[in-house]
Symmetry: C2
Subunit: 359 residues, 2 copies
């Protein structure tokens, strides 16, 4: 690694539910020191630490990682002694909402050294990082844990931590880079797994497969739930929402995965994922939760990217296309709520579809 | 008409905003007597009459039609002397929500005599009436007036009354029936127009054209507005909602109209209707208003029927199909709110997609 630290030096960006549990596992394993960047929860955690109710680790009071920061630190880019070995990003990924994540974390990245770990959903999330940090390794994290922060500083970790770490392979780089990226992924997995048998952190050798596989759910249930404001049990009870929307979306993702990425998603995955959520849970997927809270949704990498891949290779994805258009409409509403500049002017003069302005 | 009444005897079913203004125009013209069936507003109107703020007729206090009823009357079917000449239906049309409109009005229909006038949106709305009342004439009413009742008994008539009356032609009937239906449409138009120049009631010779034309708006803006919870000005400001959803929907309707009904909707109608609403009005189409009030939406005749027509003749309508599926999902939510029996069971046993029930 070129680092003189005995423990891995980790910067965590996004210390909400998922991020805090990742930090906790790494610190508990004893092989890493985590500096966590906190925002809305900084004061609460500064005063009282995190309160954690964890399905894997039990009840934890007043916990803090090695250090907490209230903004992204700027490292001395000339000195590897000051470098972070890993910057782990567990924020939501909404590339259509500035600032961009690469811009945000840039001050903390040491060229040629820091590995950037994206524990985030969606397709092609690594691309802007490859562009912004061409000498750094980008790793993929896919987690199936469930953890929510509410109120600030209190984490309810309700679903077992199963996390898969692998390497995004930069198409612009050669085999040595691939081997190095794999080694960095294994190294992080080792530090994570040192936490003990309560968490399952696994090396993921086939990142494209696992990301496309997760899209089967995220481009279907997650998107439609956000649009309809409906949990997955209600969709299943209605039957027609599965038959008319969810299954066609999954089939379109499956066809696109094969044509655009050579990823073979098994046919039987579709029926399996349709009934994957506990029926009795009335589960609300992440984008629906965000809509209900008036937050931005991360639809571009969950729905937009597979749609663009489909269009690139000429796969017909009519359902995905409409769902994408509607999610973009929902994001428009969220933007209007958050950002004053997009508030719809009452006078449509000069707009493409302004027209017909009556007094 | 076979009637001995000097004035046309009209029964109005649906005395909300639109219906009450229709009744007012007919009564004011002096050629018709209206009996209006009231429901939620019966007591208010019984006590104080209607209060009307009308863009066409001015301020009106304590107005009542010739008679008000609190339920559909049963007529003596053997006697044409007791018959209604016209039963005008101005309720919302949600054929997926019982009771059906033909069942509802059946007691008031005299076979071979009463003309049934459907002042309602959508395609193929006449079909269940042709089946239920094979010896009666079914007329089409399309209105562009805007009138809303709030609170009960108070009508805000804010948009000029332009109403088109024509005949639905029963494919099972011959030319004499067509001529008779046309005569009944003209007769009603005459009674309506007797109100004076403040209202525009026009005979519509080409009902299929006018209904498909109105679908250009109702299957696009109306449906998408309901799904997104967004007014038409915001859609236009976003641009992409027009480009990705509204225009494709209009194009699909146009292709279906031609293939399924031989109706030629002019290409330029599309851009015209895109900017038809006053931009400054931030107009909320009817289904969005219904969604916001938690009411049922009339999506089956606005979106479902054109979709079924497209499927019948093999026109590809991928956007319409997804919008239909989502609207059906919204209706599912409204049904759950209104009708206890569809509340989603927490235990999915025995359901098609129940599965994966965990304790």
């Amino acid at each position: 690694m070129g680092s003189v630290h005995k423990k891995l030096q980790v910067l965590l960006v996004g210390s909400g539910g998922i991020g805090t549990m990742v930090a906790y596992a790494l610190e508990k394993g004893g092989k890493a020191e985590v500096a966590a960047v906190l925002r809305s929860n900084f004061e609460a955690v500064f005063d009282n630490g995190f309160t954690i109710h964890s399905v894997d680790h039990g009840e934890i009071k007043d916990w803090q990682p090695t250090s907490i920061l209230d903004s992204i630190p700027s490292v001395n880019k000339e000195s590897w002694r000051a470098a972070y070995d890993y910057v782990i990003v567990t924020t939501k990924n909404a590339p259509d909402i500035p600032p961009s994540l690469p811009d945000l974390i840039a001050p903390a990245i040491t060229p040629g050294h820091t590995a950037i770990v994206l524990i985030q959903n969606g397709l092609n999330i690594e691309r802007p990082f490859f562009s912004a940090f061409p000498t750094n390794t980008i790793l993929s994290g896919i987690t199936f844990m469930g953890a929510i922060e509410s109120p600030p500083g209190t984490i309810n970790h309700h679903n077992h931590d199963r996390t898969f770490i692998g390497a995004f392979h930069n198409p612009a780089a050669g085999l040595p880079q691939k081997a190095f990226a794999t080694a960095l992924a294994l190294h992080l997995m080792d530090a994570y797994s040192a936490c003990g048998p309560n968490v399952d952190c696994t090396y993921e050798p086939d990142v494209p497969y696992s990301r496309w596989r997760k899209l089967l759910y995220n481009a279907s249930y997650n998107g439609v739930a956000a649009i309809l404001g409906m949990d997955t049990s209600r969709m299943r009870f209605s039957e027609h929402i599965i038959d008319d929307l969810i299954r066609p979306l999954m089939q379109e993702i499956r066809a696109t995965a094969k044509a655009a990425a050579g990823v073979e998603l098994e046919e039987e995955l579709i029926e399996k994922i349709i009934t994957a959520d506990g029926y009795d849970k009335c589960f609300k997927p992440s984008m629906l939760q965000d809509v209900e809270k008036g937050k931005f949704i991360e639809f571009e990498n969950l729905v937009g990217e597979p749609l663009r891949e489909a269009e690139r290779v000429g796969v017909k994805t009519p359902t995905l296309k409409v769902v994408y258009g509607l999610l973009k409409g929902l994001q428009f509403k969220a933007k209007e709520r958050h950002l004053k500049e997009v508030v719809v002017p009452r006078n449509g003069e000069g707009l493409k579809y302004g027209g017909c302005v009556r007094s």
